[in-house]
Amino acid sequence: MRPVTKKWLFLKISSFILIPLMLWFVINFVSFYDKNYQEIVRFLTTQPSKFLVSLFLIFAFFFSALSISEVLEDYIHDEKIKNAANKALNIFAILIPLTAIIVIFNLSL
């Protein structure tokens, strides 16, 4: 399979998985965004929200990294700048969700 085909397939599969996760997350975000410390920590430390938020973060960053790399492909002319931007994007897409998941798993009331 050609790398571009593989990338397109990953993009579509992650999009398909992300749609219900996004809907679930945004409904819960609306319910907890102005709640107090205890309520938010309780939401993040109990199942299934602990697992689903982690899954949502992994797929959101994975999907975004693939989508933004498509935008970079379309609009950045210089190969070196494009490669550097893609590397920075990949590091960002791994580091941020990983840190957030570690935080979630270390939260307690």
């Binding site: 749609i19 609306v30 965004y33 102005d34 410390y37 989508s67």
Partner: protein
């Protein structure tokens, strides 16, 4: 090796259509959403510092600006979800006719607002 692939022309060259409008808004909301999700990650990280550090964030979200941003995020997520569903349907080979693309494009725009209201009412347990 030199890459001679053609690059996309800049967006101001195209004549605006519903499809191009939905496409560019999808890209913009995609970037907004990932920035928002990154901020949400930082928000979660602040929780580690305890209850007293969290008060200022709760005060912000209780303000008019905080609520306005929460509604804006809901719209941005709704638009992205609907646009992705439209894309997945098109990937299956449906909806390429000019009239259909216009109708589905308009549906994405209109339903993004309806979804925002429904999600907000559902999240706040009004329904």
């Amino acid at each position: 090796m030199e890459n001679n692939n053609p690059l996309s022309p800049h967006i101001q060259i195209y004549k605006w259509h519903i499809s191009s409008l939905v496409s560019i808004v999808t890209r913009i909301t995609g970037i907004i959403n990932i920035l928002v999700i990154t901020l949400i990650c930082f928000w979660f990280a602040i929780l580690l510092f305890g209850e007293s550090s969290y008060e200022i964030i709760q005060l912000f979200f209780k303000s008019f600006l905080g609520k306005f941003i929460a509604v804006g995020i809901t719209w941005s997520f709704s638009f992205q979800v609907l646009s992705e569903i439209r894309h997945l349907i098109m990937d299956l080979g449906y909806g390429f006719e000019l009239k259909t693309t216009n109708v589905t494009g308009i549906m994405v725009i209109i339903f993004s607002f309806i979804f925002t209201i429904l999600i907000y009412l559902l999240g706040r347990q009004f329904i």
